[in-house]
Amino acid sequence: MSILVYISGEHAGAKASHEAVTYAKKLGSDVVVVASGNSSDLADLGTYGASKVLVDANVSDADSRQITALVAKAVEATGADTIIFSHDLISKAVAPRLSVRLKAGLVSGAVALPEGDKIKVNVFSGKAFGYVTVKTAKKIIALLPNSISPEATGSACPVENFDAGTGNAAVKVVDKKIPEGEVPLPEAEVVVSAGRGLKGPENWGMVEELAKLLGAATACSRPVADIGWRPHHEHVGQTGLAIRPNLYIAIGISGAIQHLAGVNGSKTIVVINTDPEAPFFKAADYGVVGDAFEVVPKLIEAVKKFKG
């Protein structure tokens, strides 16, 4: 089976890209990557199972029509019957377009490899799983980040220029600001999150300190984002971001059903809360009943000691 994986050159070094190529390698013997935008990280995708990378440096990540044309052309060139995306901002714009263009059923939010003809996906904002079948000859799978572990078993692969002739971009990027050194939340393996129990934005110092020690991203509950204590992009939950880190530490968050929906894909959940009746303890693996302002500094000391 011939599998094509779309990767944005800009994200070629990201864990989610390594996961997508690993997933493809487990599906079929011949894996080709098609990339928009060049990057020195592309050849390294061979380590995860790609036999080669086709790259068109003239395609803009912001223009879904250009990327769709590029991927469609690569499907034609390789004869691929399955196309894999990582379920991120770019793939949300491109994969459905490609589905229409190729008449290929799209399965988005996949969390596991297919079992027979069924593919397991996240539904009801993380409250349940669905099993999807595709009726069309070609299929497209958009994989949720942190669903499988990247496996580096091969070696670097050739990167070839692939001019898809997609013309000019209709969508133009006029400005881009990305803070450096922060761990992007959807990809983070450890997330430290806090809620109203912290009483005010001035008290986030200890949350950030704990996150930094653990190499974690920071997150927050909806009320905290709504009152402006923290930026919206940190809001996890049913109407925010759904994440599935290995470790989720919730500080001063009661655990409303809407919040749980966004985080219950986490492998391990630690809850720190003063209220022993907080619903979050029912969803937690480890719980600490206590005042965050006493517990978190002690946890920081314990982590420092552990990291030695």
Binding site: A93, V94, V100, G105, K118, F124, Y131, A170, G265, V270
Partner: protein, 246 residues
């Protein structure tokens, strides 16, 4: 400016999720349906704001059965001018998108807005599929949308940062948090909604590409292990040795 806002019903966010018929169907017992929050809070409200400052018309469209009309009236109460329901119980996102695209082709819209995803199937597919069917530009998960002549100026949140985009309309945009503030319908809006036009359109011919065969619930968590707040060394040790996550 004529704006088409695609809305979907969704189970209330507090709904207990359960399945029936051998886990093949969503159990609607006791479930209250609402307008999918992203469609209502962000797409619809931003469309109304654009109309208020630039004039024009806001039409809402949904693909569903007569049972969805309560949800349509709610969206009309918030302020949409009129509504269209395409009379089919859709099987997949492609069917929803091709129905809406077929209707939009017959009626010219400057802007087609959707929510970033529905809170039940979370596919984030319909907007992009409509855009492809109509050969229009598409911007996913916009957190801001402003109008500048023929140009839309949009913002997207990327990796903790912001990306600013420009594209000429007509275009399709999916709307995420930041775009607008939720509006609560007032009594006048609710009264007016009763008499606003709601057109029912028969289904267009369309295909389906995928189907949900069954569902499952996540495994129940084991009972929480409580740790003494004065013994954080124990917590760190459990996270390292037992959970193996640090």
């Amino acid at each position: 400016m004529n704006i088409l806002v695609c809305i979907s019903k969704a189970p209330d966010t507090t709904s207990k999720i359960a399945f029936k018929d051998g886990n093949t169907k969503f159990d609607e017992t006791g479930v209250q349906y609402i307008v999918n929050p992203y469609d209502e809070w962000y797409a619809l409200v931003r469309a109304l704001e654009l109309k208020e400052s630039n004039g024009g018309n806001v039409t809402i469209i949904t693909v569903g059965t007569a049972a969805d009309e309560a949800v349509i009236r709610k969206a009309l109460a918030i302020g949409a001018d009129d509504a269209v329901r395409i009379d089919v119980n859709p099987v997949d996102a492609f069917e929803v998108a091709s129905q809406i695209a077929s209707y939009a082709k017959e009626n010219n819209y400057d802007l087609i807005l959707t929510g970033k995803e529905t809170i039940d199937f979370n596919g984030s597919q319909v907007g992009s599929m409509i855009a492809e069917s109509l050969d229009l530009p598409y911007v996913a998960l916009a957190s801001k949308l402003d109008l500048n002549g023929q140009t839309l100026r949009l913002e997207q949140e990327i990796s903790g940062g912001i990306q600013v985009l420009e594209v000429n309309y007509p275009a399709v945009v999916s709307c995420a948090k930041g775009m607008a503030e939720q509006r609560i319908p007032n009594m006048r809006g609710i009264m007016a909604a009763r008499t606003k036009p709601l057109k029912v359109v028969p289904a267009y011919a369309s295909e389906t590409y995928t189907s949900f065969e069954s569902f499952s619930l996540p495994e129940a968590k084991k009972a929480v292990k409580l740790i003494d707040p004065n013994n954080m060394d124990e917590l760190v040790s459990l996270l390292h040795n037992e959970a193996k996550v640090i």
